[in-house]
Amino acid sequence: MISLAVARDLLLEAAARRWFLALGLALTGLLLLLLISLRLEVVDGALAATRLFGQPLHHSIQAADVALRPVFLVASQLVFWGGLCFGVLSCADFGPALLSPGRIEHLLSLPVRRWELLAGTFLGVLALALAGAVYASAGLVLVLGAKTGVWTGWPVVSAVLAALAFGSVYAGMLAVTVWVRSAALSAAAGASLVVLGLLATHRAALLDVMGPGVGRTFFAGLTSVVPPLGKLADAAGALASSAPFAPGGLVRLLAGTLAFAAALLAVAVWRFERRDF
């Protein structure tokens, strides 16, 4: 499929970019550091003692999987929010690069449908986000699993959720780029969507304190469609830390997020189909 070829090219290009090289090196370094410097003493399945760089870390002795829950929770939130921020900054340039003079003319002269170019770019960035998030989470699971004997795949599932959340943000960034080819504007759009996503999470409480008027109506309308990123983050944290969660609610939230992303992409394609280059 042509979109996959476009996505593949984007991944090849990302591999050569400093942002992602730096991220890959940083994650790998961090995991190696943990592997080497973290010493965990497990007695009958309980995490009895922890040493980091030889220094003891004082904590309660409890079942290893229970002790690791907060670790996975914090890691999932770092992957989620850190991934969102990093993605907004580092991926802002992919759309403008696609539409750059000299590149877009060449691409459009090829037997590629316009929507395939956009879809491929989106898929490539999504694959990038997935790879980064899953690498970080899976690495942490492997390191801690090897040291404690606690093996769980839920942090990796949580990372996938984080990547899909970023997908909804990037769809907005790509849509803005189709109108105005600017990496800065694309990043600003991404940041705005993140903020809106946070506001949408606390929509009910915010509406309660807002007085009636145009502003409230506008806010209500806008936040009714934007995915509540805070809820997604909470769900990711619950998954990673094996906390109870409602699967049906999560599925609906995820479906709504993907529908939002698809809507933005559809608007982008509508504009892209008719745009002259």
Binding site: V43, A259, A263
Partner: protein, 351 residues
């Protein structure tokens, strides 16, 4: 319609779908993790309760000490006792745990007789009694005994007054002069059942503030939980049962174990274990932690998810300042099953 407008139509439909999907309320909220509150300090109701119990010793020129104190705690500390447990019977009135704990605490050294003695007085331990304290020198019972049938307990024995409000009565004297039960009353609110008149006098001295202040077992600030007190390592191991490694380690290492138990919902136990040897304490912490983790794994493997979930709250805080802290929570039913053997022991103790 030009084909590209279909994309805009699709976008509109997807936006509506997105808005609908994320706003659907969750019909079935996830079952939250059980909340377990470990007894760590006086709750407001307990503080009220504690303050209401503090009394001054009766005005007596001979009493050198006049500070306020809890008569029950003073009685338990009499004679420098090293262990003692208080059961808040009033708080456990409607809990199946109340009766079982009572039986367990009494199921040693023939103290089952004491419960029987109360019953002969027409005192129902679970109805008329506020607190029951178990100590080395006997049982201390507090409550309202104005309507108690003392003849039912004391029979034809007559008591000797002691101190301001005390009365010591030897019951069932044996032919060799010893007595199996010495009942000591302090007004109509405190009753001590022991087997020694000397102990009885020490109790009344402590309650009325005479003589040198005994080393307190517990301060009023430590009277939180439905059961609280100080026990020795062997006592605790025997109560919790088993010959596992953790029990052996506990016996060898602990010099003092302060326990607090909250049984309002599930049973939450906090035990602060003090010991002389810091390294042994550290090892004990690891052993206890491992035992708890193993129990949790076994519960989960056995399909007892409720127990396993509660055991997630179990933790051992490492030894600091010569003491480590054990926190464990268990479902009420599990504890009740575990302590069911006490019924039989209590009966055996009475015989």
């Amino acid at each position: 319609m030009e084909r590209r407008w279909l994309w805009l139509l699709a976008a509109g439909l997807l936006v509506i779908a997105a808005a609908w999907l994320v706003r659907i309320p969750e019909p079935h909220a996830p079952v939250p993790r059980p909340e377990v509150e470990m007894p760590r300090q006086l709750r407001p109701a307990e503080r009220q309760r504690m303050l209401s119990r503090l009394t001054r010793p009766p005005a007596d020129a001979g009493a050198p000490r006049t500070e306020v104190r809890d008569p029950m705690l003073a009685a338990l500390s009499a004679g420098g006792a090293g262990s003692g447990l208080v059961l808040e019977v009033n708080a456990l009135r409607n809990s199946p745990l109340g009766e079982l704990l009572l039986n367990c605490l009494a199921a040693r050294d023939g103290r089952g007789n004491a419960l029987e003695a109360l019953q002969r007085m027409g005192i129902d331990p679970l109805r008329d009694v506020d607190r029951v304290g178990i100590t080395e020198h006997g049982i201390v019972v507090s409550g309202d005994f104005r309507r108690a049938n003392w003849e039912g307990l004391l029979g034809t024995a007559t008591g000797a007054p002691y101190g301001e409000r005390g009365q010591i009565t030897a019951v069932d004297p044996r032919t060799d002069g010893g007595s199996t039960l010495v009942a000591t009353r302090w007004g109509d609110s405190l009753l001590h059942l022991g087997d020694s008149e000397e102990d009885a006098r020490r109790v009344l001295d402590a309650v009325e503030g005479r003589g040198a202040a005994p080393r307190p077992l517990l301060s009023p600030e430590q009277s939180y939980g439905e059961l609280y007190g100080v026990v020795s390592g062997p006592d605790l191991a025997r109560t919790l049962g088993g010959n596992e490694a953790w029990a052996t380690a506990l016996v060898e290492t602990a010099s003092r174990v302060e326990v607090h138990l909250d049984a309002r919902r599930d049973v939450a136990l906090v035990a602060d274990v003090s010991g002389e040897d810091a390294r042994k304490l550290e090892d004990l912490g690891k052993t206890l932690g491992g035992a708890l983790a193993l129990s949790r794994a076994q519960a989960r493997a056995g399909g007892d998810d409720e127990t396993a979930e509660l055991l997630s709250f179990a933790r051992v805080s490492p030894a600091q300042g010569g003491a480590l802290s054990l926190e464990v929570a268990l479902p009420l039913e599990v504890v009740a099953r575990r302590l069911a053997f006490c019924r039989g022991d209590a009966d055996a103790g009475r015989r």
